[in-house]
Symmetry: C2
Subunit: 353 residues, 2 copies
Amino acid sequence: MPKSPKSTAQSPRVRLKDVAAHAGVSVSTVSLVLNGAPRAEALAADTRERVLVAAGELGYRPNYLARSLRGKRTYSLGVLVPEISEGYTAGVMSGIEAELEPAGYTYLMVSHHSRATKLEESIRFLEDRGVEGLLVIGAELPGPVALPTVAVSGHRPIPGMTTVALNHDAAARGALAHLHDLGHRRLAVIRGYAGNVDAGDRWRAIQGAARELDLEIPPKLTVELRSRSYGESFDSEGGYREGFTIGRRLLETGEGFTALFAFNDITAIGATRAFLDAGLAVPQALSVVGFDDLGVTPFLNPRLTTVRQPLRDMGQAAARHLISHLDGGTPLGGRRLVEPQLIIRDSTGPAPG
Amino acid sequence: MPKSPKSTAQSPRVRLKDVAAHAGVSVSTVSLVLNGAPRAEALAADTRERVLVAAGELGYRPNYLARSLRGKRTYSLGVLVPEISEGYTAGVMSGIEAELEPAGYTYLMVSHHSRATKLEESIRFLEDRGVEGLLVIGAELPGPVALPTVAVSGHRPIPGMTTVALNHDAAARGALAHLHDLGHRRLAVIRGYAGNVDAGDRWRAIQGAARELDLEIPPKLTVELRSRSYGESFDSEGGYREGFTIGRRLLETGEGFTALFAFNDITAIGATRAFLDAGLAVPQALSVVGFDDLGVTPFLNPRLTTVRQPLRDMGQAAARHLISHLDGGTPLGGRRLVEPQLIIRDSTGPAPG
DNA sequence: AAAGTTTATTCAAACGTTTGAACTTTCGGT
DNA sequence: ACCGAAAGTTCAAACGTTTGAATAAACTTT
């Protein structure tokens, strides 16, 4: 005998109507007072007081569904993330949450798993649930969206959409300048997976910085990742293994190089292991720079030098832009860059020789 | 001049009424057909067809707000997590999401930051948003909740509430038996932070297993963590440092011991470092077992032996129980244990001597 | 003392659904 | 030819709010 979920003795909710009856006024009056509407100023102070007291005594709490249905505002946003379990996502989300909560917004989160069809489907899903805007993380949208949208991470410009992205130029310049200062001149690079939103921008930035600094990145020493394998995901093992084999392959090329700049920490760690296993000390024989700054990087041996993305700040900035558009009408559009930070630890050192 | 968010040319949504007009029937008919209500069977096949076509042509998509307001069901749940950026949370969430999405449920997530006041506030917040049930992760509820609730992680039994928890006995027995098999007899233990929901159960389980196996855990060699410092959080550095100092302190006691069982991986890693720095090889001089199985544990040096919690499964099980109650009336209550898995790597070895 | 104005409050429609009850039309049976 | 039932469809209320327009009462103004 299926039991209705409502069967849990749920004291019937107090409605505006109940408060009105208790205070001896009309429903409209109660609504006006409780919302602090400008019109409520015209009410007798005594009436306002009575309403407030009644609402307090009955423990009135508004029905957001009804309010939204009538009022057109839902104060809820949709957040599209690549994968909820990834460290990248978690970092950005913590910023989004920090910004949204005090602003009184809720959000619905859905993972798009980097699939275009799932992405579009999810957008419709969220629209249907009445979200007022979208926060899109780590995805390339096929085109403009009907809803106000702010994207986090590399995105080719779409009119009317703000993008919050890492300053890849600064990231590349910082890391490469550091290596250059240490005397390195020939560099291996692990490029991102082609489907990754950051891969293109980052690679261009690296090439630019290398040119500026007169660093050489031989084509034979640039490898592209075959899979996603972002940071602290639960399948980080794959990224590690890929880094490991890439590291070995780089050594086998026979090309001389003294430093490696990896697309992310996890592959950097894998490659480092390959180097160590081959008898090449890091950083004495070979320097390694990662990207992301996973929580554990400082505990590795050697502690990894890496570029930290301010993920939390990025999420926060994105959320802030969106609600300031929704609440205040600030126009959306353009790019906001956030600055990376080079964290120098023990995996980089003077070039040998 | 603040611009209304609605100003983005948003083609006015198609309502039931529009479909009705287009198909030449009443709103009720459309509703019946589109919902596949039993009553719709009584309608002429021709009419049903016309409605379906009309809905398709106009691209009708229901308004969930209106539907929920009228129908009493919102198909949304509230998820209370300790901290959105923690690996523990991310793992459980990925299971919850996997289960909820195909079932057509949405969820609102809020972090309680392990504060009781925030927890209660959040519950009210979620109730007000019309969630039909609650998934509570890593928190001790003060008492029964009006909403159907399933908890993940240790929770003293509350009537009418299901708890999905790790089988701590199995976890402790597995880890300790492994150490016992290797010849270890005197053990150091890092206990969890008192505020952690798992700390108590785990400690009791460890004591029980130690008694069974005749392993000694001298009081001087049991230390309690002072801070949370779960897994792959962004403040994991704190946990690492705490593990490091604890490791040093354990050595300073002068008490002999050959193995350490830590409350989590991050402190295990810190302690391991302290041991290595003191010239004690792991696992030759000292064995270390962690807990959680962070994504990077296999890449450490030595690779960490640890107890893996099936976080994703736990989230999935919790979500499944809740929706099967909501949809089918399955009664809630009791405890569902999930089994841990001991992952043997290189940080454990035969006891010296 | 009628007309106008201000002050305080309420009416009632609307938001987009769902659904119990009511209404027509058609039909088979007498 | 009439009745009762079956078949097909619609009415209208309800869910809990918000808000433009309307009302009533009290107070000015002339």
